[in-house]
Symmetry: C2
Subunit: 396 residues, 2 copies
């Protein structure tokens, strides 16, 4: 039989980068290309305990259908926790529990976007979200990144000239892939610009709790008094990604439409995982757990930085990062980045070419992304050494 | 701020039926309107045991990111089980694990449908699926049901006259809401008609294992040699709906597009739930478990039928059903069904008006749906008594 696929699926073309990365999980490869949390960051013992307890004391709740909005005790706890600790969510806001934060990107897009409408995003940005936007046939308009976050002048220009803009997508903390954190001044400016142009902000904050240097900066949502910002949170980096629990906090009117869309996608999110997250947050010292994660990633990042200082400097440079899982590295002028990535892969060190994160993969780009949470210390040091050698060889 | 919602969301208008059902979960109501599996059908003990084991022996696998296609051992086991036991899935087919079977409806629609394209469906049909199709702005074309399944002459006519048909949606076993099972003859005819017109079949089979009378009939997918049928299976009715584990078995080419779509929606399904399903299927006597479910529902259905014989006959009639969770009842000619449902609700017996399941809610309809798995035996008997009294009162 011959299949007639939808236009949206036909437009999802295979990427040149995927070809390069196709074999990146082959045995023997050093996985600097992944985005997995460090395995020793999972709170196994606690999850085992609360899982056993909940299957003992409320098995029906864990196994029966739930409501689309999410497990009520988790929703209530998160709303109050996020409000008290981060100033996120106020009077006019509501919360929806999702099947991972990726579903927040999906549901907001479904709720707001017609085919051909524009999404403003940082350039580079997280490829998973860009692909979700693309699956709704969004027109992506990239705003270049500076050291302290996106270029607000370019944002202002885009807001003035682009047509049918539905929202700005931003990851303000330890951005994937650039590692960059947006300054407070820029957060304020981004909020005001979008508000004044009637454009929503989708603030994606999966890494905010993983700061291992510098000072916390308030979220854009905490500035929101007018229902401009939808905030996406996630348990993937702080409890477990395999559970697929994320959440959206945003204007009631928008959340209620997202609920209808979610009902048609998966009815509701896994109940066991929602109850585990609730009990883990309320029955244990959650702040001490976050502190222990920051220690793990601080130590890992120091292994990486030491190796980069030894093997990269001064040929390959990297952006400053104060948290998260990624480092963004840039090759010297004139060096062919895709060729570099290919050669490094032949030597078993696998990184993601920077072009993967651009709204237009054809743009020139000399950067690549390193993940330091997945590899072991030995793999990290060995991988950086290989990358440095590869670059030096290409300079000859 | 003023929000501009997408056309697809704007077109999801609130339903008159939802208004009627809004208070159907209020305390004291008899829930004949639900669709939940019977709580005593959940294999608590087994789930507790495999959950404790897997969090002990493979915690990383359960908590780390997984691949979009699904947990490999579950995929392999299901493919071989469904092939050997039901003849479902052959050479050209692949499998995708989804977050409940609702996501199969969503992903196939995303993969095949452009706005305005046509979906053929049984009329009445499952409201959850119809709403998913509507969320992609499908044009729904209903094919009337007969006692042995959809009217194949009307199907043939629709295939000849409707434009841009992307697939036929059918629930061949103990259909929700009608309880009807499609005859073997009609399955063959439906398969040939769709194949000859190059139209896919989405075969949704959540209740197939819950047959408590009569003989199993082979699935439409088991007739498929040409990649016409995508089969949707689910653990919701046989293990637990709160886990949200379903699956699609269908042509490789179609499954691979659905995988890309799923990646943008929720990356992958909850790992714990996938591993629990795999271990439950392989580590226990799965056939004996299914047999015990059939006993539970056989007994429940007998309570219902006894009550209907006492309180409904001959005023209210019902369709014959040999499995599943639902009975489809019809009021005498001239009786206002929506008024009947309202009056029954005032007396605390809550059923779903048949119009909820039509492609056009405005069509005339004298039927309503009863669920017999959620209420207790006492609630069931009391509810049927109230419904019978309500109808007799309206005859006066």
């Amino acid at each position: 039989m011959e299949y007639q696929f939808s236009d949206r699926v036909k437009s999802l073309r295979p990427s040149a980068i995927r070809e390069i990365l196709k074999n990146s999980s082959a045995p023997g490869l050093i996985p600097l290309s992944a985005g997995n949390p460090a395995p020793d960051a999972f709170p196994y013992e606690a999850i085992r305990r609360v899982s056993a307890e909940l299957l003992e004391d409320t098995p029906i709740e864990a196994l029966q259908y739930g409501v689309t909005e999410g497990y009520a005790p988790l929703r209530e706890h998160l709303l109050s926790y996020m409000n008290q600790k981060h100033g996120v969510g106020g009077e006019g806001d509501d919360i929806l529990i999702t099947s991972g934060a990726q579903q927040v990107m999906d549901l907001l897009t479904k709720t707001l976007l017609n085919e051909g409408d524009t999404v403003l995003c940082e350039s580079p940005s997280f490829i998973g979200s860009l692909n979700t936007f693309r699956s709704y046939r969004a027109r992506l308009c990239g705003i270049p990144m500076e050291e302290d976050g996106l270029d607000t002048q370019k944002l202002e220009k885009a807001l003035k000239t682009e047509k049918n803009i539905k929202y700005l997508y931003t990851i303000p903390n330890f951005q994937n892939p650039s590692g960059i954190t947006m300054s407070m001044e820029k957060r304020q400016r981004v909020y005001e610009l979008c508000r004044d142009h009637g454009v929503m902000i989708l603030e994606d904050n999966p890494y905010g709790d993983l700061r291992f240097a510098g000072e916390d900066i308030p979220s854009i949502k905490s500035l929101d008094k007018e229902g401009v910002v939808l905030y996406a949170g996630s348990f993937s980096k702080v409890v477990s990604p395999g559970m697929r629990v994320g959440y959206a906090i945003g204007p009631k009117e928008v959340i209620s439409k997202m609920v209808v869309c979610k009902q048609g996608e998966d009815v509701h999110s896994n109940m066991w995982a929602q109850i585990v997250c609730h009990r883990f947050m309320t029955g244990f010292d959650y702040e001490a757990h976050l502190q222990s994660l920051r220690e793990i990633y601080r130590r890992k990042s120091q292994v990486l930085i030491k190796a980069m200082e030894e093997h990269f400097a001064p040929l390959i440079t990297w952006s400053r990062f104060e948290g998260g899982l990624f480092a963004w590295c840039t090759l010297p002028e004139g060096m062919d980045m895709l060729e570099f990535v290919k050669r490094a892969m032949e030597r078993k060190a696998c990184v993601v070419p920077g072009t993967a994160f651009l709204t237009d993969e054809g743009e020139p780009c000399r950067s690549f992304r390193i993940n330091f949470s997945t590899p072991t210390d030995e793999q990290l040091t060995e991988g950086i050494k290989i990358l440095g050698e590869t670059a030096r060889e290409m300079m000859k």
